[in-house]
């Protein structure tokens, strides 16, 4: 197999393909049957090892046993011991509350569902990639995307809002602004940001259905939300967040 193909396969399984490499691999898979077979073979291995553990590779039984972590609950800075009973009571109380909320408040736990199913969208701006555009990129844009990359979505939403005001014709900036607003749970703003993209022919059009669907769901406009999430699931150009979109749709 060509080195290039091997590189692309390795990058695929290491989840480090950028958008243009993904497109290149996709094209090669359609034109090179040998590569397609190899790809499927490795994909099947990936599926097979998904449930397997590294630990069973340790031959010394005592050493393997030693790697089992102590029965403790992990917290950010400390480990609390023997807290299971308290956690069980707390969990039972929480479940009861959630059930009651579900019964008495229609759509009461949608906020949590939406937040949990809001997947981060990778930064695909060309200035981020190595060998990307030579065009100078204003520092405020770099700064805004840096906040986005760090997952500081409320700050990114504010910074990208200013960027969109300064560059209203750049629809890519608008998309990332909308995604940041969804993550920051500022749903009315997200709808305003993303609506024009869903009606455009931009590359982010399909992805915008998903985020716009989440924004409408967060804004309790359920018919719109359902319609957009379904449109996302029906898209033929490949969707990355199928599982999340399905979960939200089922929960509405």
């Amino acid at each position: 197999m060509e080195n290039r193909s091997e590189h692309l396969l390795e990058a695929y399984f290491a989840n480090s393909l950028n958008a243009s490499e993904a497109e290149e691999l996709n094209t090669l898979l359609k034109t090179d049957p040998k590569l397609a077979v190899e790809f499927r073979f490795q994909q099947q291995i990936a599926r097979t090892v998904k449930e397997q553990s590294l630990r069973s590779g340790i031959a010394n039984a005592d050493w393997a046993k030693a790697t089992i972590p102590p029965a403790t609950e992990v917290t950010g800075t400390a480990i609390k011991r023997n807290m299971w009973a308290r956690y069980l009571y707390a969990a039972a109380a929480m479940i009861t509350l959630l059930v009651l909320a579900r019964v008495y408040i229609p759509g009461g736990n949608n906020g949590q569902l939406i937040a949990e199913q809001t997947a981060p969208y990778p930064n695909k701006m060309t200035f981020k990639s190595l060998g990307g555009t030579n065009q100078p990129v204003p520092p405020e844009v770099i700064e805004a995307f840096s906040l986005y990359d760090q997952g500081k979505y409320p700050e990114a939403a504010q910074a990208l809002g200013s960027v969109v005001s300064a560059y209203p014709d750049n629809i890519d900036y608008r998309f990332y602004w909308g995604v940041s607003l969804v993550h920051a749970q500022q749903y009315p703003g997200a709808i305003k940001a993303l609506e024009p993209i869903s009606q455009s022919q931009n590359d982010f059009k399909t992805a915008s259905y998903y985020y716009l669907g989440l924004a409408y769901a967060g804004n309790k406009e359920m018919d719109q939300a359902k319609s957009l999430l379904q449109r996302y699931l029906d898209a033929t150009d490949g969707v990355s967040f199928r599982k999340q979109a399905k979960k939200v749709l089922e929960g509405l």
Binding site: Q43, T48, Q52, A66, G151, S240
Partner: protein, 179 residues
Amino acid sequence: MNGNHNELEAFRKNPNHVVSGIYQTCRPKFIGWGKDATRISVHDLADIFQNAVIIMVLNLESGRLSELIGTLCTYLFGIGKNLVQAFRRKQGRIGLPGDEAFPLTRETDAGIEDAMITAETDAQLWSKVDALGEPGRSLIILTYKEGLNSQEIAEVMGYSSPEVVRQLRKRCLDKIRKS
């Protein structure tokens, strides 16, 4: 014999004691670092740390870890940081046909040859991977489950270069195919 060598010796004599100490002192440090430096949840960081401990033991068992430059905790941080990188990449991955999130269509299906491969059940395939033994088995898991690239695998498993890892993986895949 220096203090670092003592840690390895102590593990060989009383693995439970040493690992229990690692979980008590090193894991909170790792989780504290991870919380500040990444957006990964505490429980995912705990899982990552546990994998780092297992890899450390695999390396000790294979003889690839025979000498420590720093402490065991520093060594675990080195492994853990590579696992964290791979974990973060998983969250922003780009899908291709055949992914769970991107089912095959008529256009992207490779056809009959593909069907012959998928006819092999996962259990049969896993028994072939398992039969590779170490280090092939771990290398396959780190590549296809944990999503580490060759450079990262070389670092965590103690190989001299990513090229060595690629050659080893190629031999493993050939063996699975032929068995």
